[in-house]
Every structure is written in C-alpha cells, then in structure tokens.
Symmetry: C2
Subunit: 217 residues, 2 copies
C-alpha cells in the first residue's frame, strides 16, 4: 500500500532499528537509512548499520557527529570513565540523543524528498528512556511539521510491542540478525553483560527463538 514511498530510517545497527528497516522494506518503501557517529564506545554499531543497509539493497548516510562526544560525557555509552551496568541506570542515558538524530533525519528527509521517518522505539524502552516514548515523538512530529511547514510524519512502528515481539518479527521478516550489533562495548563479540546485551538475550529467550549471537559471557 505504501509502494514507492520514501522513508528515512534512523538505523543504529541494533536489533530494533534493523527490524524496523526490514518492516519498511516489506511495506514497499524506498529506504534512506541514516546512522550517527557520536563518540559512542560501540562504534561497531555504525558498521553493522552499514552492512544492514547493504543487505537491504540501499546505501546508508553515515553522519560524523563525533563532536558530540564532549557534550555526551555524562553517559557511560560515551565516557569510558563511567562504568557500564547490566541493569538500566541514569548514566546510560545519552541526553536527547533521539531528538538530535530525528532532527537531522527531518533535514535529510527534506533533501531526499521523503515524507516519513521511522525509528526503533518500543514498549520495553518506555519505562527508562524518555525519548523512546510515544508522547515524545508525537510532540517532536508536531515541532517538525511546524518547523518545516510540511506534513512530515515521525513514528515508531513497533511502539506498543515489547522487544521480544521484535525478535519474533525479525525472524518472520528474515532480518539477518547475525549482522546486527546491540552491545555497548567494542569487543570482538557481544559482551553479554551490559544492559543492552542482557535485554537482547532476554528477548530471544522470551520469544523462544534460538539466539545465535556470540557472547563473551
């Protein structure tokens, strides 16, 4: 039904945003993925996103925002002096990160002539990450429409679903999960101990789907 419509997807190279990208492909969208280097320790996710885009038959816009590293120094995803935790902690939050990414996605959409932006927020994030909530992206969409004088749409197709539902969807959509990177560290393999690895493990377990990810622990 959306045949030939263009969309911009904020692709992080993780399981969630990759599933969103394959969902959009299944809906017939022309996909313009965008990924950001923002000083994250897990820079491997950028290369994962690139591979996912190639696998989708498109190319990715890699935006080098390494200048944000200083500004994001309060987050353990950027600052190696702050310990990473296996459970959610305030230190994991990268302040207003999704808004920065979505703002650039809006500008990119204007440049490529896309009218829809998708990102990977879902219900399992809602309790912890304010910029993964529906009321946030709805308010942001309104600001984007006013700020560009357009009817641009911003949404999270898996809002209302849990991460385990994304694992199920990814399996149905044949997402090459082996190419995705969820870990907050920059090891050879997923560490298996950070919050993101633990959430990934749990989501597979709950979905009762074999997790082929290689974890250090």
């Amino acid at each position: 039904m959306y045949k030939d419509k263009k969309c911009v997807i904020v692709l992080s190279g993780g399981l969630d945003s990759s599933t969103v990208a394959y969902w959009a492909k299944s809906q017939g969208y022309q996909i313009y993925p965008i990924v950001f280097k923002y000083g994250q320790i897990a820079v491997k996710e950028v290369y994962a996103a690139k591979k996912i885009a190639e696998n989708l038959g498109t190319s990715i816009k890699i935006v080098d925002f390494s200048a944000l590293k200083d500004i994001f120094q309060t987050s353990s995803l950027v600052n190696r002096d702050i310990a990473l935790s296996g459970e959610f902690s305030e230190a994991i939050i990268v302040p207003f990160r999704n808004a920065i990414f979505l703002s650039v996605a809006v500008a990119y959409a204007a440049t490529v002539g896309a009218n829809e932006i998708f990102y990977g927020a879902h219900d399992s994030d809602v309790a912890f990450y304010p910029d993964c909530r529906r009321d946030f992206y709805e308010a942001f969409e309104k600001a984007a429409q006013l700020g560009t004088n357009s009817n641009i749409s911003i949404s999270a197709p898996y809002m209302g679903k849990e991460k385990t539902d994304l694992v199920k969807a990814a399996t149905k959509l044949n997402v090459p999960l082996e190419l995705t990177w969820s870990c907050y560290t920059d090891g050879e393999q997923h560490c298996g101990q950070c919050e993101s690895c633990i959430n990934r493990k749990k989501a597979f377990q709950k979905a009762n789907i074999a997790d082929l990810t290689k974890y250090e622990y």
Copy 2:
C-alpha cells in the same frame, strides 16, 4: 531576578543572537553559548560568535557538524552552486536547522546544568522561516521536556519584536556590533547585497541608528 541561573544560547555571531546574549547577561544569567559549523559558506560567523563570547567573559562551545554540508546541499547558504539572492527565496532555507541546533543545545544544557535555552528568532523572520516561529519553538519545548523528563525552557526573548527593535536594544545593551557578522558570504567585509546584509542595513535605517558595518556594496 534570574541571578546565577544558567542558560544556553544558540549564538550565530550575527546581530540577533548576539543581542540575545547581551540581554541574558543584563538579566544576570551565567551564559553557555554554543555555535555550529555546518558547512555554511559564512564560516566567519563562527569566529564572530567566539569573539562575542569572549567579550561576554565566557567561552563558547564550537560544535563541528561539517558532516551536515551534504544534507544541507539544497540551501544557498551551504551550496555555492546555488545563487544567493538579495530577497528571501526558498533556497536560503536550511531545512530544520534551528531544530538541530536546539536539540544539541538541550543536550548541552543537561550536561552543564542549565535549565533555559534562548535563541535569536524575532518577528521579522516569522514570515519566511518556519523554525523561527513561536508555535514551532513552543512545540519543540514540549518535545524537549518530554524527551528529557525535565522542565527545560526554550524561548526567543525578542519574539514579538522586529529586527529594527533588536538594533535599538543592542545599542542600549552596548553590544559590540562591530564584532558581529550577518553576511551569508565569506568576503573580507559584509557583501551588502545578500538578504541578510540587506535586512541588517534596513534595520539600522529604520532604527535611525548609524550603521558602522563596512559593506562591499
């Protein structure tokens, strides 16, 4: 009344944002200015902003977002292949630029512990630039509050005023206007012919205040 409160100011080095910065100083704010390199031809504005910040007794955060140059290729402020015009044209618009800057300002505010963000939008911009309108920044403020789970405030202190009123205010506030840079080009002096130079000239004329800016034409 605002003594010792911190604010982040999106400072472009032009007349408007510089006036906002001096206004904030007059109100007793501790000022955290931020400026962006985004591939603009007028990179001189970044150095103007740096001087303004020094003059205010503070230091500026210069964010190198040169990676945006590609994404902003539709704008004559970035792409030298698009002619600059003396009157407003759609090609001047840098899509959603203020939202990108404000998003980063929100993250910076979280890092430095500021609760207010000011930018230089005013009524003379309203007809042309959607991201200089009150309804835009009010919607954006709501998104910022939801996306950071805070009561961060975003406003444009000179909304409701014309550019000529900013020239009058700048004079009263002793803004060193000779340090500001409004021109969209990168000449030795202000070109005097681009939309921004023409607006600057008109604002001084209408305010009946001597314009000491050196213009090429």
